[in-house]
């Protein structure tokens, strides 16, 4: 069913995508945000994410509920990782199923845009040179 969650374990995208199945689904859009090897010109070798878990869960669920009320979709699932991540790992995953593709694209993009803007989760980048810093854009 619909939902937002915070996960300390690696994200299993295939399992999450199976959760989008429903009668009447004609379109599925999935987004994966991955740990990149560079940011702002610096070589990154790992990331860690910290969340204010109770509020992140509540705000993430609010975003999913907003998307449901705005777009004609079947299922919405979003999961954000916390803890230490290696290069290439999935930091955030969002998937939407719908009867038609416009709603699936719009809802998926709404969810990830709003999660990045509003959910209290912070990223610390660990650089190849050995230092690290919290990102507070």
């Amino acid at each position: 069913m619909d939902g937002f969650s915070i996960s300390a374990a690696p994200i299993d995208a295939a399992r999450l995508q199976r959760g989008l199945e429903a009668a009447g689904v004609g379109a599925v859009v999935c987004f994966e945000g991955r740990v990149r090897d560079h940011n702002d010109g610096r070589a990154v070798h790992a990331l860690s994410y910290q969340a204010y878990v109770e509020l992140a869960q509540a705000e993430g669920q609010r975003i999913v509920d907003e998307a449901r009320s705005c777009f004609p979709v079947e299922r919405i699932v979003c999961v954000h990782r916390i803890g230490d991540l290696a290069l290439g790992e999935v930091a955030v995953w969002a998937g939407v199923s719908a009867g038609h593709r416009a709603a699936a694209f719009d809802a998926c993009r709404y969810v990830i845009d709003q999660v990045k803007a509003r959910v209290p989760i912070w990223k610390r980048e660990h650089y190849v040179e050995g230092d690290s810093e919290w990102l507070h854009p």
């Binding site: 945000g33 204010y52 509020l55 509540a58 930091a91 955030v92 209290p120 912070w122 919290w134 507070h136």
Partner: protein
Amino acid sequence: MRYRLLYFAALCDAAGRAEETVTSGAPDVLALYIELAARHGFTFAPERLRVAVNGAFTDWNHHLADNDEVVFLPPVSGG
């Protein structure tokens, strides 16, 4: 009054702790932030932060009650 504080990300680094309980006469969230910013050397201007009391977003003039849990939220960078 006694307030419970949680600190995240750069504020956690600056405070040198993830949580603390303080005794303060600060009547609202803004007054409490100013007091704690001076104590811990927080450099964020209030307008760059959001604030939550007892697990819900609120605003800077939120009037505090004894044992409230207060969190100053630095700009987020999830995703």
